[in-house]
Assembly symmetry: D2
Homo-oligomer: 407 residues x 4
C-alpha cells in the first residue's frame, strides 16, 4: 500500500520508530522521496551530512533497476582522452574515450599515449575471441555418473541449445565445455550475447538448460555458478580461455616519434617492458603482465556504466614491446573484457552520454558490433596507458644518464 | 596566463580551430568553464549530448587533483546496507555501509546478509596483516652483482629507512624483501601508511631509497614499480603475502537463523560453498575462492572514493563455511584490501559524505585505526554478500526438493 | 670409423689426452665398452669410484635411444602395492602397482590406502578427457595479421589434419586452439596418441602442419613449442584444459571401514581435507589441491619408464572428501597425467617388467586402452595415498583426544 | 619372529595361501629373500616375468629406509655431462654432472650447453635464498582467536626456536610466517637444514613446536602440513618465496660463440626466449617461465637420490636472455630446488657414487656448503639445457632463412 504523499521526514521517523524498514520505503513513496527519507534517517543515525549525496541529477526512478536502498548518487569526475583512430574489426573511426576516475594523472597519461598513437596513424585492434560464460556445478554420485552426464550433454547439444535460446531473443549458445572433479560436474556454457555484457542473459539461459539436464540425467544442480565461469574472480581459466571479449590493440611507433614524444628509445622501452611487465609479473606469479591496464579499464567502465567488479578480469592483460628496425612495436592483449553497450548501467543518464561520445551506445549493426568496437577502443586506451607509463620510467633514466654525463 | 572571462563557447571554437588543445584549457579558464568548453567541443565533434554529464554538483576545481581533461561528472546511484555491528580490532560500532553500484540486487543482497549477521549479534573482524608495497626493479650485471646488492640492502636497512621516512610525516618503512631473477633485483618495500591507501607515499619514499641504492651499489633502477608490488594486477604475491589490509570477518549463525532467514541449512551452505567456492575455484585455477566478494568491494570503493582499479586485488578472497553443531561458521578473508580514509578520492564531496556515514572519514586515532576499521566493515559486507548468495542457491534447492516431495 | 676392439682403458686414455671427446666414444666402441671407458675417465678426473654405477644389468645398447654419454645405471629400489580392483572405463581388473622410490613409507602408505579401498570393493575410475598437445608460436606482423592466420587455420582444418596425420600411423589430430598475444600466434594442437605418451608424435606431426602454415600464411614459426603446450611446467592451461589423460578415481568407504582401518571418521577426514587440501592450497595459490599425489605419480612413473619431468603436471590434482551418511566419499582428479605403455622408457628391461605386473605393457585393444587403464590405476594409487595420509593426521588427533580423555 | 631359512618359494606360497601378507615378509626373511618371495608371488599372480627387476646389485637391506614391499630394483641409464666450471657462492670447481633419464637427447642437449658455457669461461651461480619449510594448519574458534594465536607465536619466537631445535643437532629455525584464513591459522616454519633436503628434520621439529602451541594457546593442530609448505605441489608460494634453495646461474656468451657453437645470434635467442618462455608462459598462466628446466632437475635428482616428486617445485624457474653488445646474457633462476647431499636416497649405492662424481657427497664444510654447491651446479646444468634448446629452434630458423635466400 504506497503512500505517495508522505514526505521524507515522516517516513524517516517511521523508520526510526521501527515501524518501517529502510528497504520498505519504496512501497510508501516514489523513489526520490524514499531516497530523501533514507538520507534523513541515516543523517540522524550517524551524524553524517548527506547534502552532496542528495544532489544527484538523474531521475531517481530511472535507477531502480540498478540499486536498492538508494540514498542518492556518487559523483565522480569524468574526463576525456583522444582522439585516436582505431582500425579495428568493428571499430573504424576516430574516437574520444570518456574516463571517470579519481586517480590524478590517469587521464593525462592515457591522453599522452593516445596522442602518440595518433601521430603514428592510429592503432590496429581486433576482437580475437568472444563469448559470455556461465558454469553451473552439478552434484553426481561419483565419476562413473559424471561420465554419463557429460556424455548425455555431448549427445544432446542441440536440445540444450534450444532450451537456452528459448529464453532470449538475441543470445546464441556457442559451446558447452565439461569439467569433472570427483563428484562434481561443471558445465561451462558459452554464449554470444551480442551488444550486451550478457551475464543475465547467460544466467537465465543456463538455468533453463540446467533444468533439462536435471530432468534427463542423475545430475543435481548445486549452484548456477560453479566458479568456472568465472565472474569477478582472478581466474586463470579466463586469462587463458577468455570471457567477454578477448581483444588486442597494437601499434608501431616510428623511432623519431619514440624519441620526440616519449623522450626515450624503442630499445629502452622494450627492455623496461620485459623486466617489469614480463619478468616482474612472472616472479609475482601474476595473471597480469602489464603496467596498469586495469586503470584504463576501470575508468572507461565507470564512465560508461559497466560492472565495476569486472575490472578484475580486465586486469588479465599482457603487454608486449619489441624494438624493430622501424621503431617500437607495442601491443596489449586483454583476455577477458566483459562489457556491453546495452543493459546494465548503460541506460543511466551520464553513462549513456559517455557511450554517445564514443558513438557506440545501444545495439550495433550487425548486433555485437558496438560492443566489439568498444572493446577495441578500450584496448587502444589501455595500450596508450602502457606506452605512457613505460616511457615515463625509461625517459627518467635517459634523463639521469644525461645528467651524469654533464649534459 | 589564464583568461577567466573567456566563455566556454569561445574556447571550444579555439580548440576546433586547432589553436588550443583540450588539456590546455585549464590555462585559459577556471575548471568549470574549461569543462564546459570541452563538453561543447566534444558535443560538436561527436554529436553526443552531454547535458547530464554537465550537471555535476561538486565544485569543479575541487576535482583537479583527481582528473584531467574534465568534461563533467559520472553519477552512480548510491544505496546503503546495514546496520551491522562489527567487533573488530579497530571497528567497534554499528555501521551502515554505503554502496555505489549499477548492479541491481547487489545492495539488497548485502543488506539481507548484514541483517542476518546482525540477528546473530554481529560479525567479528580483524586486520591480520597490513602494509603498502612498492617494488622497484634494478638492473645488475648478473647474479654475482645481485648478491652484492642484496647484501648491501640487508646491511643498510636503517639507512634506507631514514631515506624513506625523510619523505613522509606519517609513513614507516616496515620491511624490504629482495627477489633475484637473473640480472634483475626486485626490492619489495613495505610501509605502514596509516589511514592513507598509501601508494603515493610508498612511491615517493621508495624513489628516495632507490637513489641511495643507485648511489651506493652498482644497481641501476629500471622502473620504480617492477610488478612485484603488485598494483592492480591479479598476482599471487598479493594473495599470499597481502597488500594494503589483510582482513577477515566471520560469524556463527545459529541453526534457526539459517533456517528462518536464509531458508536453508548449515550443511547445505557448507556443501555449496565447498563445491563452488573451493573446488570450482580450484579447477578454474583462480586466486579468488569466493562467490562475489569483488562486488561488495567495488561498490564500497566507489561510494567512498577508493581507487576502482584496486578492486582487482580486492577479489583475492577466500570464503569458508563450516557446519558446526551450533550452526554455520562462515568467514571471508580478503588478502589485499587497499583503501584509505584520507587522500585519493576521499576528499570529493559525495565520497567524503559516504565515509561520514561510516563515521570513518579522515585520520583515525591512533593513526591507521580508521582505515583498519573501514577494512573490517568492508570484510563484513563481503561476508554478508557471500552468505546471501550462497543461501540463495541452496534455498532454491531446498525449495525444489520440497516441490518434489509434494510439500 | 669404429674400433670395437679397443678396450675401455685405452679409450679413456685417449679422452684424457684430448684426442677424443666423451660423446665420441660410441663411434669407437660398443655401448658397454664406451660406458666403461667413460667411467674410467670420470673416476680418474673426479676421484669417484663408480663400481655400482657400472653394475647395471640391462644391455647397454638397448638404452641407446634413452641416453647419451652413458656411464652406467642408476638403481632405485622398486616395491609393489595392492592388489586393488579398479572399475574403470578401460581398467577392469585387480592390479598390483609397481612403485620405484627412495622415499621411505611411501609404498606402505599407498599400500594401506589400496587395502582400504579394496576392502570397500575397489575404486571407480574414468579418463574424462584425453589428448597430447604441442603449441608452436608464430611471429606475425601484428594483430591484424594474427586474425588472418587464425582464420586461415579455422578454414583449413582438414588440410592441417592431413598434414599432421601423414607423419604418423596411429595419431589423430583432434583439435587446434588458437591464442593471440600481440604479434604472437600460438596454435595448440591436440592429438590422440593412443598408447604412447605422444610427445614425439605430436612434435613431428605439428612440425608438418607448421610448414603448411608457414607456406600458406604470413606467419613465421619461432619455436615448435611456444609453452602453451605446456610441457614440464606447472601451467594453469594444463590444470584447466588437461594434457595427456585427465582422470578421476573415487571410492565410498563405509563408516566402519573408516573407523577400523583408518582409525578416524568420515567427518574428521572431510574436515581435514578441506582445511589442508582446499583452503591451504587456495592460500598457497597452488595448482595442486592434494596432499601428495605427486609421490604416487613419481613412483609409478619411475617404475614404468615414464618421463620423470612430467611428474610436474601430475601434481595438478584435486582431492575431495565428503562425509556422506553411508561413509566417506573420496576422489582424486588428475588434470594432466602424461603417460604411455609403449615408447620412451617403457622398453627398458626393468620398466617393461613393471608394466607387465600391471598387465598393461604395449599397445592396448582398442589402441589407447592400455594407457587409459594405466592412468586409471595410477589415479587409484594416488587416491590411496591421499586416503592414507589424511587418515594419518586425523587419527593422530583422535588418538590425542583419547589420551586427553584418559582413555 | 623371523625365519631366515625359509626360502623364497615357500614364503611366496604362504602368501598365496593367505597365510602371510606381502608386507609381513620382512618379518620372516632377510630383505633379499623377502624381495625374491614377492617377485615369485607377483609373477604367479600376474604372469609377469621379473627377472630384470630381480637383478638389482645393491644390498637389499641397504634400501630398507627407502622402500617397503620391495620386489627388486628399477634400473635407469645414467649419463654424464660436462665438465663445466662454476663460479658459485659455494661451488668453485670444474664439475661433471651425472644425469639419469630415459629421455633420449637430454644428456646431449645439456652437454652441448655446458660445452658452450665452458667455452665462455664457465657459469656464475648463487644461492640467493635458502630454507626448508613446514606449515601446519591449526583450527581456531574464529578470527579473534586466530589473532591471539598469531600474537602468541610472535611473542614466543624464542621458545618455539628452542622446541624446534631440541629435536635436531644441525637444523636451525629461521622464521615463522603466519597466515590466517577464517578459522584456520597456518604457520610456515622455515629451517636451515644444512646439507640435508630437510623435510624430515623440518617435520619433526615442527611437530615439537606444534605441541607447545597446542599446550599454550587455544589452537588445535589439524595437520602437520597445511599445504602452505608447500611440498610437491605447484604452488605460487614456493615460486615467490622459495623452498629449499633459490638459485640462479648465469653466463655471458660472446657473440662469436653464439654464432659458431649455437649457429644463431644473441638477438634471435633473446627474441625466441621472450616469445616462448615469457609471453607463452604468461598466456599459459604458468609458474614455469622456462623451456625445460624440469628435465635437467629430474635427471640430476634421479642420478643422485633426491626425491623425484620434488621435481614439481624444480620446474618453478625463470629463464631470461638478453642481447647485449658483447653477446648473449642468459640466466636461469630456480625458485625452489629441494635437495640434499646427505639423507634420503643419497645413501644408495649408485646415487652415492653419482654424488661422488660431483665431489659433493656427504656434509659440506661449512655445513650446507655441499648442498649449496650442488644447487649451483644443477642451476648451471639447467641453464645449459635452456641455451641448447632455445638455440636449436633459433638456428633452425636461421637455416631455413638461408635456404630461402638461396644460400
Amino acid at each position: 500500500m504506497s503512500d505517495p504523499t508522505a514526505d521524507a521526514t515522516a517516513l524517516a521517523e517511521r523508520v526510526q520508530d521501527g515501524e518501517l524498514r529502510l528497504y520498505e520505503l519504496d512501497d510508501y513513496a516514489d523513489a526520490e522521496t524514499a531516497a530523501a527519507a533514507r538520507r534523513e534517517f541515516i543523517e540522524c543515525e550517524t551524524g553524517a551530512s548527506l547534502d552532496s549525496v542528495g544532489e544527484y541529477t538523474f531521475a531517481a526512478e530511472s535507477a531502480e533497476p540498478n540499486i536498492e536502498n538508494m540514498i542518492g548518487g556518487a559523483q565522480l569526475p569524468m574526463g576525456v582522452a583522444g582522439p585516436v583512430t582505431v582500425d579495428g574489426g568493428a571499430a573504424a573511426d576516430e574516437y574520444y574515450l570518456p574516463l571517470a576516475t579519481t586517480e590524478g594523472a590517469l587521464v593525462a597519461s592515457v591522453n599522452r599515449g593516445l596522442g602518440t598513437i595518433e601521430a603514428a596513424g592510429g592503432a590496429t585492434a581486433r576482437v580475437t575471441d568472444s563469448g559470455m560464460t556461465r558454469a553451473p556445478v552439478f552434484r553426481v554420485a561419483g565419476v562413473a555418473e559424471a561420465e554419463t552426464v557429460v556424455e548425455w550433454v555431448a549427445d544432446n547439444r542441440e536440445r540444450l541449445r534450444e532450451a537456452a535460446e528459448s529464453t532470449t531473443s538475441h543470445g546464441e549458445l556457442l559451446d558447452v565445455d565439461p569439467y569433472v572433479v570427483g563428484d562434481n560436474v561443471f558445465l561451462r556454457f558459452v554464449y554470444d550475447t551480442k551488444d550486451a555484457m550478457g551475464m543475465n542473459m547467460a544466467t537465465i539461459a543456463t538455468r533453463e538448460t540446467a533444468e533439462v539436464i536435471e530432468a534427463e540425467t542423475p545430475a543435481e544442480m548445486v549452484a548456477l555458478s560453479g566458479n568456472l565461469c568465472s565472474d569477478k574472480k582472478p581466474a586463470a581459466i579466463n586469462a587463458v580461455e577468455g570471457r567477454g571479449r578477448t581483444v588486442t590493440a597494437d601499434v608501431v611507433l616510428p623511432r623519431d616519434l619514440v624519441n620526440e614524444r616519449l623522450d626515450t628509445t624503442p630499445e629502452a622501452m622494450a627492455e623496461g617492458n620485459t623486466r617489469k611487465n614480463l619478468v616482474g609479473s612472472a616472479k609475482a606469479a601474476s595473471l597480469g603482465f602489464n603496467a596498469h591496464a586495469a586503470n584504463t579499464v576501470a575508468a572507461a567502465f565507470l564512465a560508461t556504466g559497466q560492472d565495476a567488479a569486472q575490472v578484475v578480469e580486465g586486469a588479465n592483460a599482457i603487454t608486449t614491446m619489441d624494438a624493430r628496425e622501424e621503431g617500437l612495436y607495442a601491443s596489449v592483449s586483454l583476455a577477458a573484457l566483459e562489457l556491453g553497450t546495452v543493459g546494465g548501467g548503460t541506460g543511466l543518464a551520464t553513462q549513456g552520454e559517455a557511450l554517445e561520445i564514443l558513438g557506440l551506445g545501444g545495439g550495433g549493426d550487425p548486433p555485437g558490433a558496438n560492443a566489439d568496437a568498444f572493446a577495441e577502443v578500450i584496448a587502444t586506451g589501455a595500450l596508450a596507458g602502457e606506452l605512457s607509463l613505460v616511457a615515463a620510467f625509461c625517459s627518467r633514466h635517459l634523463a639521469s644518464a644525461h645528467e651524469e654525463l654533464g649534459r
